[in-house]
Amino acid sequence: MELGSLQRRYIDFTSALFREGFLDNQYTQLQQLQDESNPEFVLEVVTLFFEDSEKLLDELSRTLDQQVVDYKKVDAHVHQLKGSSASIGAQRVKNVCMAFRNCCEERNQEGCLRCLQQVRQEYFLVKSKLETLFRLEKQILAAGGSVPVLW
């Protein structure tokens, strides 16, 4: 695909992500911290987020599957997930985590399971969107162009 269209596609895609609430201003902050001395900064942080989140989601499944649920443990995991999603700007994931913590407080197992399902959904959604974003960036760079700056 020709450079111009790639860049246009990138702009449209990114704008949609923000508009639809997948990403918030914190993601922009990350982009602003990236420069020639740290050209892969965003990718590195987001990759850490992916690894961390998937581990947490597995832990959450395991913990909620117990006969007697340790809600303190569940809450600790959700707190961590909420923190890391907030740190990279994954707004929807963060929001579900907030609801999730309320269910923990109420020791509502069904509610927690629902939240887990939701957070898992939101996580995989934002993951695939971000992967698309990175792919587009790579394609633009490979075509000899520069990634449009939207801030």
Binding site: G21, Q32, L48, H79
Partner: protein
């Protein structure tokens, strides 16, 4: 050597989250600070030359600090030693009590904030930390350096223009406007410092 304007300040950042450590490190480096990151309060104390069970460093070696830091920035919620515990250890140490400590937290809990400020923290930042937050750190580090040279000098007022912290967590959500240079003390984010404890107003979030 005299305080060189170009001299780098060294910040010790403490956070159990790898992502947040990476973030704070990048933020600090971008702000031209030298950074060391650790993942726990006990590691921080080790680096600072204080053992967990000590309250004062041994009198036989007053300069026992392993590394010299101009500021400690620490997460509040950490397993084992919390940021508050770390704050108290530092402030309770004769060799380290003048090191400025800043606390960060993802949770806006007024009682927690007050406790930290009263415990001697210079500032309390809500996460995620942004570049504009870090601009506020410089005066504390300068103050520390000055104190080193003139022990009789009383604290110079960094008149933090905190005042109206009427916004709480909501202010951080979805800011679409372009990032400012970070030079203007925008009041779009809640920040708390000891000089304006009385003026802080906010709503407690669940």
């Amino acid at each position: 050597m005299a305080v060189d304007r170009e001299a780098q300040f060294h910040v010790l950042a403490v956070d159990d989250s790898l992502i947040d450590r990476k973030l704070i490190e990048r933020l600090l480096k971008t702000s031209s600070y030298q950074v060391t990151t650790v993942d726990s309060g006990s590691k921080a104390l080790e680096l600072l030359g204080l053992r967990e069970d000590q309250d004062i460093s041994s009198p036989s070696s007053p300069d026992k600090n392993e590394i010299a830091v101009n500021l400690v920035i620490t997460d509040y919620c950490m397993p084992g030693m919390t940021g508050y515990d770390l704050l108290k250890k530092i402030k309770g140490s004769s060799s380290l009590k003048d090191v400025p400590v800043v606390i960060m937290s993802s949770e806006n809990v007024p009682s927690r904030i007050n406790r930290c400020l009263e415990g001697g923290a210079e500032e309390f930042f809500l996460k995620p930390i942004q570049l504009s937050d870090l601009i506020r750190l410089r005066p504390y580090m300068l103050k520390g350096k000055l104190k080193e040279q003139q022990p009789s000098q009383h604290q110079e007022t960094n008149s933090s223009t905190i005042s109206s912290c009427s916004s709480n967590n909501n202010s951080k959500s979805n800011k679409r406007k372009a990032m400012d240079e970070g030079l203007s003390p925008e009041k779009t984010r809640p920040r708390f410092s000891s000089s304006s404890l009385a003026l802080v107003s906010y709503e407690e979030t669940a």
